[in-house]
């Protein structure tokens, strides 16, 4: 149980990073994001995603635009802002550094 909680904390911390990664590839809407994460350790549900995306938009990391869809009501398509892109680059570097440290410590 203790380790579960620790892993949960790691996953939570990384989720925003992964969202930036996913959104950077294309204009995506929530179902796309959930689909990309489903089946991974980071499988996420709407209940978590919407509040998080909304906070990221407030921090102007992402933005969205409404687009009509063939089936059903219009959807919010998210994309990265310039600030989001900058943060993603920063996080990518940071992640590489962390990885390197971990691997070096293993030797």
């Amino acid at each position: 149980m203790g380790s579960d909680v620790k892993f949960l904390a790691i996953r939570k911390g990384l989720l925003e990073f992964l969202l930036l990664k996913i959104i950077s590839t294309d204009k995506v809407y929530v179902a796309d994001i959930l689909g990309r994460l489903a089946g991974t350790e980071f499988a996420t549900q709407e209940g978590t995603l919407y509040p998080l995306l909304s906070r990221m938009r407030r921090e102007s990391l992402v933005d969205y635009e409404w687009q009509e869809s063939e089936a059903g009501p219009p959807r919010k398509y998210y994309r990265l802002t310039a600030k989001g892109r900058a943060q993603l680059t920063e996080l990518n570097d940071y992640w590489r550094d962390i990885n390197r440290t971990v691997q070096e410590l293993e030797r």
Partner: protein
Amino acid sequence: MNKVTTVNLNGRAFQVEEQAYELLRAYLDEAARLLADDPDYREIMADLEQAIGDKGARHLRSGKNVLAAAEMKRILEEMGPVETGEGVMNAAPEAGAETSGPKRLYLIREGEMIAGVCNGLAAYFGVDPTIVRLVFVVLLFLSGGLIAIAYLVLMFVIPTAQTAEERAAARGLPFNAQELVDQAKRHYAGLKDSTQRWREKRRRDQERAFWRRRERRDPEGPHSSPFDRPQPGYGAQVAAGMVLPLIGVISAVLTVACLFAVVSLFATGEILGWSLPVGVPTWAAILALVAVYAMVTVPLRAVRYASYEALGPRRGWFVFWDGVLWLALVILAWWAAAHYVPGVSDFFQHLFHDWRDIVDVEGHYAALVGAR
């Protein structure tokens, strides 16, 4: 047949079963509570409603235009708990913040086998009820049935978890709105076969709540409510649970004694070798005996009813088990006496013959006529 309600999910109308509506409302209410301080409250709520609507639309097609409770449950499970920086909707443990409420042993009457003792123990120790039941059965064989007595004692002494607060305490969970939502969900899950009962209960609860509100608004007022008994505390319930079986045993012993005395008087005209004074008819002695029995049991009955009262809303259940215990003891006493006490067993033999003689009215009549 279920009542159907129409809901507006972010601008789209959906028809949902009443139970599905209650589930949905519990989810959205809780989400709203969590997101109350979020600057994008409205937008997130709209997003959530939209997502629920999208998922709901997938369950519908032409010819099926109502969302059932089970479908709503699945949809909300897919949605997952609403999570913000400040908190999670679900009871998932947050790192660092080990939240727990008071933990107390309760009988849990949801999914119980007999009285919910194993269920309550399982909740208390945080293990699967099946494990506790298996252990119980093994102990039952190992102890030659003695553990059943422990079960009986626990059954009477441990209070039943009645309210959501008590159910939370039975698991040591904090009682908050989340617990209410969980309760509602669990309640609905087992609802398909007990809708009627639940409706009744809800009606009663609402009535009770109405009276409470009224009472609060007008504390000195003349409206005294039939429901507004003060809820007894845990200690009072435990005490009542301990007193009740004791009273049950005493009253069973008294009943058996009285029955013996009456039968003995009737059959032989004496009680344990003590015969009636000359001139006192048997029926008068029996009447006197019954009167004495009634008088002796008056305080016992008073204590019993006081205990029922202290048990609060679960007294109906208790009256049943108390009756079962009493009946079992009386039958056991008769059986044991008839089999193991030689005097009594002789007495029964005599009784049998006497009884046949008494019943044999024609024989009596013939004897009488013959005597003349």
